[in-house]
């Protein structure tokens, strides 16, 4: 029996000290880890919020600037932004067969799609008329300019004045609803374009009949960790009013 009482007491003391220090170190570690996680989640929420704002801004800017307030886009009583979302423009090169098929030098974000697009036709009298797009084929005699594509286009009614230019568009709606910025094409469902971070106070506004800009108010909800709330308001003007 070599171990004396003093040695046993010392071991218990060491044990207690080790336990205490271990608890302190572990507590500090857990605290630092938890704090870092909350902080990083808050940063992610803030970055996500900015991404939401940037998306709304860029999309609306791209969609509304080619249009005319009141004619090509407007806000209804429920705060829904209704618009002609322009997808391309075509210069008329000539008539192909009869009066309802036209060769067009087309440029745009995508090719016209008769299933979902309409056309706004500029006649040589200077007036714009809208029709349903009924057919698109490759071909036509519009030269070999690589900046455009030669197409043969047909729409629902022959234009009374000879057409000069067409603008291809789809009818769409933008919503700030159900927590997200959403797009609805035609009669389809509303597809979210952003994460669901929008507060119910987010709205589109436009004074009726004023030809004024679209006023956008986007209120961000805080993320799960508490960061990222904010209010952004700005306006987007089209090319003019009618």
């Amino acid at each position: 029996m070599r171990a004396g009482g003093a040695e046993v007491g010392g071991t218990v003391l060491e044990l207690l000290l080790a336990l205490t220090l271990g608890a302190v170190v572990l507590g500090a570690f857990v605290g630092v880890l938890g704090g870092s996680l909350r902080w990083s989640e808050s940063l992610v929420a803030r970055a996500e919020g900015l991404e939401v704002i940037r998306t709304v801004w860029v999309v609306l800017d791209e969609e509304l600037r080619p249009g005319i307030a009141g004619r090509d886009w407007d806000v209804d009583g429920d705060g829904v932004l209704l618009l002609r979302a322009f997808r391309g423009v075509g210069r008329i090169c000539g008539e192909v067969e009869g009066l309802d098929r036209w060769a067009v030098a087309y440029r745009g974000r995508r090719l016209p799609d008769p299933g979902r697009d309409s056309v706004l036709v500029l006649g040589d009298d200077g007036g714009w008329r809208s029709f349903e797009l009924t057919g698109v084929d490759d071909g036509g005699e519009c030269g070999q300019d690589p900046s455009h594509r030669s197409l043969v286009v047909r729409w629902s009614q022959p234009s009374a004045p000879p057409p000069v230019l067409i603008r291809v568009f789809e009818s769409g709606e933008y919503h700030l609803a159900d927590g997200a910025f959403r797009y609805r094409r035609g009669e389809g469902g509303r597809q979210p374009l952003t994460p669901e971070r929008l507060a119910p106070g987010s709205v589109f506004r436009r004074a009726a009949g004023s030809g004024g800009p679209l006023e956008v108010r986007v209120e961000l909800l805080p993320g799960e960790a508490g960061g990222g709330a904010g209010l952004f308001e700005w306006s987007v003007a089209g090319t003019g009013g009618e």
Binding site: M1, R2, A3, E7, T11, E14, A18, L21, V25, A28, F29, V32, S36, W39, S40, L43, R46, A47, L50, I53, R54, W57, D61, P213, G230, L231, F232, E233, W234, S235, V236, A237
Partner: protein, 146 residues
């Protein structure tokens, strides 16, 4: 039987205890200190990284607010004269001048106290390329650039 087993365990524990070198307790304390230092260092580095990311995001938010406001003002009024302040939407823009195709403006976010606010940042950018505006300096008390 139980007593005998208990004696064996005690004997084993004593032998184990006696085999621990005398300096072992000191070494454990040193290890603990090293662990604490490493932990502190890791915590400090993590906090620094997160703080820098926070500054970056703050700068990005300022830039976005400024770009939104500038875009709106261009739509409404064209560009401002040097020294002119425009209050609209989220904050204040102070036009400081035009050099070449560069527009120099200072942007004060909401609550920054206008032109003299410490959180005012500065933007410059070309007229024809509104999305190329660059935030020259931001933000807050940190003085970190974005």
């Amino acid at each position: 039987m139980t007593s005998e087993a208990g004696c064996r365990v005690l004997e084993w524990a004593r032998s184990a205890r006696s085999s621990v070198p005398l300096g072992r307790a000191g070494a454990s304390l040193a290890e603990l200190l090293v662990a604490l230092v490493i932990l502190s260092l890791g915590g400090t580095l993590t906090a620094r990284a997160l703080w820098l990311a926070s500054v970056e995001i703050e700068g990005a938010e300022l830039g976005l607010r400024a770009a939104l406001l500038l875009s709106e003002l261009q739509d409404r009024n064209g560009l401002g004269a040097a020294g002119e302040e425009r209050r609209a939407g989220p904050g204040t823009l102070i036009f400081e001048g035009v050099g070449g195709d560069e527009l120099i403006v200072r942007f004060a976010p909401p609550g920054a106290g206008g032109a003299s606010g410490e959180e005012a940042g500065a933007l410059s950018g070309g007229f024809g390329a509104p999305r190329s505006w660059r935030l020259q300096q931001t933000v807050g008390a940190s003085g970190e650039g974005a």
